[in-house]
Point group: C2
């Protein structure tokens, strides 16, 4: 089924400290703000925060696998990190189709991440992607 | 030392298929375009491509650890994926300080990824980050 402007998709997720460690290992980003509780205690965050780039990976996961899913080709992403995110915390992302170009098979899809059950928004993003059959 | 407009920083990197698999595991993005050579052979890419979000993790790695490094707080990133990227290939990223706000300690730093030794640009990005002592 073709994506339509205004279509939405919701997904809940959380990350563990083990996920953060694995992400640090594979990307090489071993900033102690993400990995070292003692270090983080002396920052304004007071405890380790998740890498923003790990948090925003929910975009590639959902847009690549579920909405619109397999066949998506990423062209662009804009991501604003509005509020720190922590491990073992439930988050919800809400994607909304903002624009559709049927000739080029390109859509812009916004994504907003909230602390689950609250109006506290942690990430605001916009992805541009191509999908030959669903856009 | 304070970042100045026009400062640049270069870094070479590559990813292996094992890195791609680990990234898929931790983010949950198991799009076969990244993991399955037989599947990828039937796409216009002909072979598996690296997750764009893994490739662009070089921004968080370098900006978080080296330039300006520890203490960086990510506020925003815009990333354009211009050309597919593959495993076992040498890439080079060039970061350039574009704007500096000394009062807010915020800088915009562009990053361009090239296939090493060529003018083929694969990613163009712009990161906005805060650093209390280096910006």
């Amino acid at each position: 089924m073709l994506l339509q402007i205004g279509d939405t998709y919701k997904h809940e997720f959380r990350f563990s400290q083990d996920d953060v460690q694995k992400f640090a290992d594979v990307t090489g980003d071993k900033n102690p703000l993400h990995l070292d509780a003692d270090y983080a205690a002396n920052t304004r965050f007071k405890r380790p925060i998740i890498h923003g780039h790990l948090s925003s990976s929910v975009f590639t996961r959902i847009l690549g696998m579920e909405f619109p899913g397999e066949g998506s080709v990423y062209m662009k992403q804009e991501t604003e990190y509005l509020f720190p995110m922590f491990v073992d915390t439930d988050y919800e992302v809400v994607f909304t189709v903002m624009t559709v170009d049927r000739e080029k098979h390109i859509a812009e899809i916004s994504g907003e991440v909230f602390i689950k059950g609250t109006s506290r928004r942690t990430i605001r993003g916009l992805a541009t992607l191509m999908h030959q059959t669903k856009i």
